[in-house]
């Protein structure tokens, strides 16, 4: 690094020096050229001016009258001639300048009339260089630096024209060189030094890079040699190199340590004689060596050999030898890396002795393992065969097991998910696809509470499959407890898409059936109604009687369909429970008003007794009304004329108990166990009344139980029956669903 920086520094300085040196030379050349041209200008100007006769100049007035002066004409001719000669020196302008009243006026000009720059006698020199004033004062020839006047940029020589004898100054002869000419001359002159500098620079750079490359290679070589030495010297194993004659050319520290020969003792000796036991590996040795020196190959190259060597003290050292070859400057070398295996050999001996013991204990262990494996494969088979997904996690919710069914359901193979955090792989979503709060996830609940946690199928949670689609799941999570400590949990889950679909179909069936079954019933109801009303003409007594029968049967059919629909609604679990604070007394009064006609028909007496401080309770009045209606309708139907029906509502602990009693036909002992069954009707009343459906008590029981209550009865045949049912004072919880009763 340091080397590199200093090299860059050297390069920069050298380049800069060359450029500066070249620049200086160029500058000198430039100055010399300017000087030379100026000198030439002065020299030629003086020579030419010498030829001008001052007496003629004397006659010039620097006005238009000069044009008639023969001296003027002569001088003009002379200057024009001279001009041809001066052209070669770049002097394109020559003229005479006179001074009058502190002004400079032209007369006599080498430029012919009509060409650019021509001045007529008497023309004013508008912007003369300052040197012009100087010469009129000093009267000595001079040259100007570059200046600008109305005709352009020039350098000029001004030569005074004086009277020979008096020295009086008549005029000044001016000779101009175009600045452009000067410039061109300078360029031409400086081209050589500039090019030379560039060539020197290129040459220098090439030499520099060649040399630095050489240096780099030399450094790299040195470095690699140092590294090689460092490696060989610090190597734990002896490293030895021999040339193609079998002479040792490398002997590292480990070799010194193992064999006891120092480097100086070993180098230059025959390897074969130094460390191999006498006569042991002598067969064909010299022939092998010859072959190696010729081809650089040997059968031992690339192999690991085990052989015996001897050290300085003559002790046998068993070693492992691996040999490789290298060609350095047309010479083959063999490099051997030696590993002292005497300790290993010893260990192998000990191992052999112990192996028998090990074999015996192994056999014992194998026997135990077999038992364990058998147990494990039983569990595995069980978990594999199970249709539900099973995923187990540890206490940190990392997946530790996933069975085959889970792979099928989720698309994730157990290999892909084991070790990952469960909720990273399976975010738990609600039906809108939103991830639910951590504390609501079954795994978290199970591990926190230590109890089994299940989700409901009516408001299911969702898992994501590998392909990012979600599916509804029924989940049961059980914590894994070992020694009363929770170490993880097992999630048994199944895809309930199909179950939900079936439920949906059930609901749709209810809706469809209610429509399809009721339509013809409505038609029958309405037409018989119209017949009875005489809308189609007056009926005879007999006709009226028949139509009434049809109408009554139709009403029963409607009631039956309604009951069936209600049962279906409750069974499907999709019924809405919509609790509101309800006064049970009012509910009963409503029902009694509804069936009042029938009670009056049978001249029955109704007694209602309600606990005087009965609180309103939070129940679904539509449902509970159905219970009272069923019980009271039964009491009315199955109690003979003039009978007694009583209703008591009382409070006991946290329950409200409703009792509906009659002194009617009662239920026989034989029928009692089956009285709440669907479609079951008491044997005694079937004979008396043909109208019942056998669904009323079943429906009442379903409703009471879904409202967290209990229903029971006591009855004696021909004495009467009492039904009781309870409702919790705390009321029932609201439940979402799709259907209500009687809709």
């Amino acid at each position: 690094m340091k080397n590199k920086i200093s090299r860059i520094l050297l390069l920069t300085i050298s380049i800069l020096s060359i450029i500066v040196f070249g620049g200086l030379i160029t500058l000198v050349v430039k100055q010399n050229t300017t000087k030379k041209i100026t000198q030439d200008l002065l020299y030629f100007s003086e020579s030419v001016t010498a030829a001008i006769n001052p007496d003629r100049v004397k006659t010039i007035t620097a006005s238009s009258s000069d044009l008639a002066n023969p001296d003027y004409l002569r001088l003009n001719q002379q200057l024009e001639k001279v001009q041809d000669y001066l052209k070669f020196k770049g002097i394109h302008w020559s003229y005479l300048v006179f001074q009058k009243d502190n002004q400079f006026l032209f007369s006599v000009d080498s430029i012919p009339e009509g060409q650019y720059g021509h001045a007529e006698p008497g023309d004013l020199y508008q912007s003369p260089p300052p040197e012009l004033s100087k010469i009129f004062q000093d009267k000595e020839p001079l040259t100007t630096p570059v200046y600008q006047d109305e005709w352009g940029k020039f350098i000029s020589a001004f030569i005074p024209i004086k009277d020979f004898s008096t020295g009086e100054l008549f005029a000044v002869a001016g000779f101009d060189i175009d600045y452009q000419y000067l410039q061109t001359q300078i360029y031409q002159a400086t081209l050589i030094p500039i090019f030379s500098t560039i060539i020197v620079l290129i040459f220098y750079l090439v030499i520099f890079f060649l040399i630095s490359r050489r240096l780099d290679q030399a450094n790299a070589l040195k470095e690699s040699e140092e590294r090689f030495e460092l490696i060989t010297e610090s190597a734990f194993d002896p490293i030895i190199m021999m040339d193609q004659k079998g002479i040792i050319s490398l002997w590292n520290k480990s070799a010194e340590k193992v064999y006891g020969f120092t480097k100086s003792e070993a180098l230059g000796k025959s390897l074969h004689h130094l460390i191999l036991p006498l006569n042991k590996y002598d067969v064909n040795h010299s022939e092998k060596l010859r072959n190696f020196s010729k081809t650089g190959q040997s059968p031992v190259v690339g192999q690991v050999l085990e052989l015996e060597t001897i050290n300085k003290a003559g002790q046998i050292i068993p070693v492992e030898l691996s040999v490789s070859t290298v060609k350095i400057k047309y010479q083959h070398y063999a490099i051997g890396i030696i590993r002292d295996i005497s300790v290993r050999k010893k260990n192998e001996e000990i191992l052999k002795k112990k192996s028998k013991e090990v074999e015996e204990s192994q056999l014992a262990v194998l026997n135990v393992l077999e038992d364990v494996n058998e147990e494990k494969s039983k569990t595995d088979a069980l978990l594999t065969g199970i249709g539900d997904g099973v995923i187990a996690v540890d206490i940190d919710l990392n997946i530790i097991y996933a069975n085959q069914a889970s792979e099928k359901i989720t698309g994730w193979t157990s290999k892909e998910i084991i070790g990952k955090s469960f909720h990273d792989v399976f975010p738990v979503l609600d039906n809108k696809g939103k991830i639910i709060a951590r504390e609501k996830r079954p795994f978290i609940i199970a591990i926190k509470t230590g109890e089994n946690t299940s989700t409901s199928t009516t408001a299911p949670l969702y898992y994501l499959r590998k392909n990012k689609t979600k599916f509804p799941v029924a989940i049961t999570v059980s914590p894994i407890k070992i020694n009363n400590k929770i170490t993880g949990a097992i999630d048994v889950f199944r895809d309930i898409t199909h179950e939900i679909e079936v439920d949906q179909m059930k609901t749709e069936f209810i809706s469809l059936a209610s429509h399809q079954l009721r339509t013809p019933l409505s038609a029958m109801r309405w037409f018989s109604e119209m017949l009875l009303a005489g809308d189609a003409g007056k009926l005879t007594k007999e006709q009226k009687e028949y139509i009434t029968n049809i109408s009554l049967s139709n009403d029963r059919m409607i009631a039956l369909v309604n009951s069936l629909l209600n049962i279906s609604r409750i069974e499907s679990g999709r019924i809405i429970i919509d609790p509101e604070p309800t006064d049970l007394g009012n509910l009963i009064k409503d029902v009694l008003i509804e069936i009042d006609n029938k009670i009056k028909e049978k001249k029955q007496q109704v007694i209602v007794s309600i606990h005087d401080k009965l609180p309103k309770i939070n129940i679904d009045p539509k449902l509970i009304r159905e219970v009272y209606k069923n019980l009271l309708t039964n009491a009315n139907k199955y109690t003979p004329e003039g009978g007694e029906i009583s209703v008591f509502i009382s409070k006991k602990d946290d329950q409200i108990i409703s009792q509906v009693s009659d002194n009617g036909y009662g239920i026989s002992k034989k029928d009692q166990p089956k009285i709440f069954d669907k479609f079951y009707r008491g044997s005694n009343i079937v004979k008396l009344d043909t109208e019942g459906t056998g669904l009323g008590l079943y429906l009442a029981k379903s409703i009471v139980e879904s409202s967290l209550g209990k229903i029971w009865f006591e009855s004696q045949e021909n004495k009467g029956t009492s039904f009781w049912f309870t409702l919790p004072i705390s009321g029932v919880k609201a439940k979402k669903g799709e259907v209500t009763i009687n809709s």
Binding site: S522, A523, R525, W526, M530, E738, V739, T740, S743
Partner: protein, 131 residues
């Protein structure tokens, strides 16, 4: 009073029920106009010289159902004032809720009522409107 017989537009796709309804309405002194589908009823509304006093609407219809029909009626400024009595075979809470929310005046379950009871209800809305 320009007309003394009130017109009831009855929409019912069950032919038998429709017969019963129109017969009963006529006997009760009303003028029934029967349509077996929602589309037909809309056609009538567009072409009848005078709008009906009450619409008797079944929920389950072939083609356009009662809900869609009601939406059409209630979004048309000319028709939205006509009282609508829904007479259906099913009265699940969401259906009842939706229809009443849309502006139906009454929702009756067919099998629960005698025809003359329903006609009485319809008549109530006729008088209502005439006031």
């Amino acid at each position: 009073m320009k007309k003394n017989i009130s017109t009831i537009l009855v929409i019912e796709d069950e032919n038998l029920l429709l017969q019963a309804i129109t017969k009963k309405l006529t006997l009760c002194g009303l003028n029934p106009v029967s349509a077996t589908s929602g589309e037909q009823a809309i056609d009538y509304l567009k072409n009848l010289p005078e709008l009906p006093d009450v619409i008797w609407l079944d929920y389950h219809l072939k083609g356009m159902d009662g809900l869609t029909f009601l939406k059409e009626i209630k979004t048309n400024p000319k028709w939205k004032c006509i009282p609508v009595v829904v007479v259906s075979n099913s009265a699940s809470p969401d259906k009842v809720h939706n229809m009443l929310a849309l502006g139906a005046n009454k929702y009756l379950l067919k099998a629960e009522y005698r025809l003359d009871q329903i006609v009485e209800t319809v008549k109530e809305f006729v008088h209502c409107d005439k006031k």
